[in-house]
Symmetry: D2
Subunit: 337 residues, 4 copies
């Protein structure tokens, strides 16, 4: 349910509508827009008396949202969501690159990568301190020590940090160290974790589950948003199919319907999508052409010595070349990086 306020509605009128919604045990979500404010309502909206709301001062109309996801739906929020961070805006006409090593291995390599990226105009670094690994005997990441390295790298270079949170227990530590909290593919339906980051103040990059439908993915975003954190970035990273020519099947075809059904920015991760360095640039360009709002790629100073996922990481010259190709395409597509 969406309450659309008149363009000249006063803060007091808005406050009175919020109160009215809370009084019937529902949750109001104020959604300020360019020309007017709207108020999303979640909870058991089947019982809402829309007439009682429509007679309140400043209310223009009440609209039922037909999708099972509400706050993530474009029905409720027509304009593209733009996430504003010190390192740049994400969404709408911008194309954002997030790059860096699979995992934090040591401070010099992360620093070196951050400095290289900043020199290239890439203002977001990805690097995992906590790593979800299929085997309990594989390197599990540097943990808290890795977070400290990321903080120091941010302090020194100013680069924005994107790192994965795997466990509610470390939420505060990760939120403190990062600019964007990443939720990994294996946790896309870890509902406790989604609810927890719904309480965070940092944007959440939500990877698509390996076999999640678009609706399930948007419902996972809805879990975060229902908690009050409306800054969600979707990230496609390949799905499970019978195909064996790549590690996963990067589903670029999800981009147009995702942009139609939702106002949230959508990124692609061709590194995990293909699993092979040689195929990353082509799929990165394709993702941009398909309408993605950004790219998450693995970059490593020495890919062949990486502790994890080296086979899918670009080296620095490869990254430079890809960035230059992306920039050329962006001009034609009328977008900025």
């Amino acid at each position: 349910m969406l309450v659309v306020m008149q363009s000249d509605a006063t803060p007091e009128q808005i406050a009175r509508v919020l109160d009215a919604i809370r009084r019937v045990d529902l949750t109001p979500h104020p959604l300020p827009g360019a020309t007017r404010t709207a108020i999303g309502i979640t909870g058991n909206t089947g019982v809402v008396d829309t007439q009682a709301l429509e007679v309140l001062a400043g209310v223009k109309e009440c609209i039922r949202v037909t999708k099972p996801y509400k706050l993530a739906s474009r029905e409720m929020h027509r304009d593209d969501t733009i996430i504003r961070l010190p390192q740049g805006e994400i969404g709408a006409k911008t194309f954002t690159v997030i790059a860096g090593p699979c995992s934090v291995e040591n401070e010099p390599m992360v620093m070196k990568t951050a400095e290289f990226l900043m020199s290239q105009g890439v203002t977001f670094l990805r690097a995992g301190a906590f790593k979800p690994r299929t085997s309990p005997y594989a390197f599990q990441g540097m943990g808290i020590e890795g977070l400290k390295i990321l903080k120091r790298v941010r302090e020194k270079t100013g680069i924005g940090i994107v790192t994965e949170l795997m466990d509610t227990e470390y939420t505060e530590a990760v939120e403190d160290a990062t600019d964007v909290i990443q939720i990994g593919t294996r946790n896309m339906q870890n509902f406790s974790l989604l609810k927890r980051v719904g309480k965070c103040r940092k944007p959440v990059l939500l990877k698509r589950g390996m076999s999640a439908t678009l609706e399930e993915w948007l419902m996972a975003a809805e879990y975060v948003m229902a908690g009050g954190n409306y800054q969600v970035i979707l990230c496609e990273r390949g799905v499970r199919t019978f195909a064996d020519h790549s590690r996963n099947t990067l589903d670029l075809s999800v981009i147009p319907p995702a942009k139609t059904l939702s106002h949230l920015p959508i990124f692609i991760d061709p590194s995990h999508g293909t699993g092979k360095r040689a195929y990353v640039p082509a799929m990165a360009l394709a993702g941009l052409a398909a309408g993605a709002d950004g790219l998450m790629i693995e970059v490593h100073p020495e890919p062949d010595r990486a502790l994890s996922d080296g086979a899918q990481s670009l080296d620095f010259p490869g990254t430079e070349k890809l960035l230059s190709q992306l920039r050329q395409l962006l001009i034609v597509l009328g977008r900025a990086m």
Copy 2:
């Protein structure tokens, strides 16, 4: 790596081998068998000096385990794992039925179901207090209150309780209320949760992820076992495919290879597998014929009034009929329920 002790090895000899393993920073897992004890070793076993172990008193031989999963592998543990609970044994020649409602809705309905099941010789009740729901606006389960109901039902009827743990935060509460801790399909690779239940003393029923390969599933079991909890039950509940004639595609063909590669008991859940009540009995019988060690099915006193998953729940008469068919098949197959 597996150290096989001689059949007449003394406890002191075993203790000395355990010490020797710990001294080189590896983890020993004593695995008592029918005729002799074996000691699994996990950690970076590439560096193990097998000769140094083989000269210790009481050691018969050292065997390298070729699979990425070690403790879950039949190479390390030849005999079928049998899980012994007050309500009965699970695994080997036994066929175990776990039945009950999708979620704890209120005390009378759970009590009624438990009494019905016990009267039918079914000694394990499934019921969710915490429910993983695709939508944040759907009924999320009764939570702690639901666990209290389950405890009272166990006290009164003696039935064994199987209930899902979704969050490390509630581990102690769930472990206290249950006889078997269930890990749901969406959490099969929630590694924090797997590590946490690896520290529990209660058996873990581990549902297969929606698009998990057999190897990934056994690796998830390995996470639990590596923590010291060797009582893991696998449960197939249907995988994601293109097929649309059922809610998921129940992959019975995973049973024979799972039994070949691993010593862990494997159950099937035809309720989630098919999503349709009418198809549950046929798939339950097929699961038994395919070699499953048990069955997890949804049973509800009034399926059409269930708060969740009613369409796939059997009513009491339907359950009785299925149990009678299962018993007839069990006789032919030389197994007991």
Copy 3:
């Protein structure tokens, strides 16, 4: 559209209805039943004037069929289809085994297999004279020479022959040599071939396509039936999924909905389904328990010397053991072989 005749309708009354249908450029399909005849109508039935038909003498009622498949639908044909062949009946309460080598390799081996099977009470032999092979450089089957061998084997042993037709060109040759014409998984939507066998007088065993939905499969059967050949046997042989523990994912869960939606007999082929000999018996038993009407399995006198698919073929002792297990299960399930 279905015209149900009164139970005492005369042949003349039926003939008059057939005429009336043909006059409006539609195709009538007389479907004699236990108590009354029904007449299926295919073509653009949107234009049928049901009242004009209902007033004809002997007509009880006209029923619209809501499924896109008509003749294959249980709406149009309530009773299970039974296919009557000299070697036995297929469908309803019977369980039929079709066994034999992947391909006709030479006369002695086929003869030896046929004699073994007949001695075991298995009255249908499968063996390919034309082989669909992924590689153009692999053994493509003996062709016409293979058909001649099959004819001689049938003459000598009386066994029923099931062999694959890959090409409209060889339809007559295959129809002449066989008792059941097999359409392979790769040709499930080879519509020219389906139309051609719709003109044959021999039953058609129609394998499910590797990624066919149940509806597409029944529509393929409809192609055959629309041509006038109502004797179609469905055969599930495994579908394509991400799973890698078996060659294909044998989808036993398709059996109950197939039996609900259609009256056609359904078989399973666990040899192609699993691709591994050791897993064939478990899946054969599971298929029977799930409600299949029959089994198609690969049996070879010397599997390790087979020219194709040896890894999934049972040897004679393995076949004997499986048949004995199937017979025990059949008794419990109240069915005959």
Copy 4:
């Protein structure tokens, strides 16, 4: 097996090598290149005496091809295959658009579409005279009459024709009417049909099967090439997965590995891939960015009145807009249309 000739080898020397290969019952395939000729050998090459070939005059070296596909492999043919037709070249640095209605509905609409396309610089028309339809009761195409229309349209406008062949029976009629013979997704492993078009003189556009691996697809191309027709164009049109946001999952990630493993041109069909008009342009641009050699799209003068697949067809203005976007991208990518 590949015999590489010296750059100055004479036609006589080449002829003698061909003879030598035929004498040992193998098939030679002369593959003229920019600087030298190579000769592919197919058949049971395990027995080839490479030394006997290497001593022949003009032979530079013999190379074993490690892939199961030989003629389709880049190992055997390093340069991109270029297909030269009166209407333009396909492959290498060119980007080719094939557009038109799903099916030939009548002469004026095909003529109108062809004239529109030619005016836009699109020199290939697709239109089906024979239509593979899931239902036997759906419009099956105009057949031979449709082919006649296509011939007249070609005569009048000069546009190149691409149309589907479904049945060996109509091979000559289709080959006569068309410039490129299309093999549909359902017939990708109709080996009889593949062998038949291997004897044709017209290029073959081979759509990927709905659940075909890349290797199976290249093996299907190999069937055509083994017959002597080396002009094969691959066309990705979406595969079957669990995803339900589009009709099929357009697998753009197959493009880079296909170009690595094979020298054949690869097209994409975003119309069938997405099934929804609104998503076609984004995926067309993405396909170009991913490295495709061309595009096959459905264009209809009045999509909402199309007899088949109207929902996925672009109208004329939509096509014009897409072509303009493609052209801008092509400039940046350094390619021509």
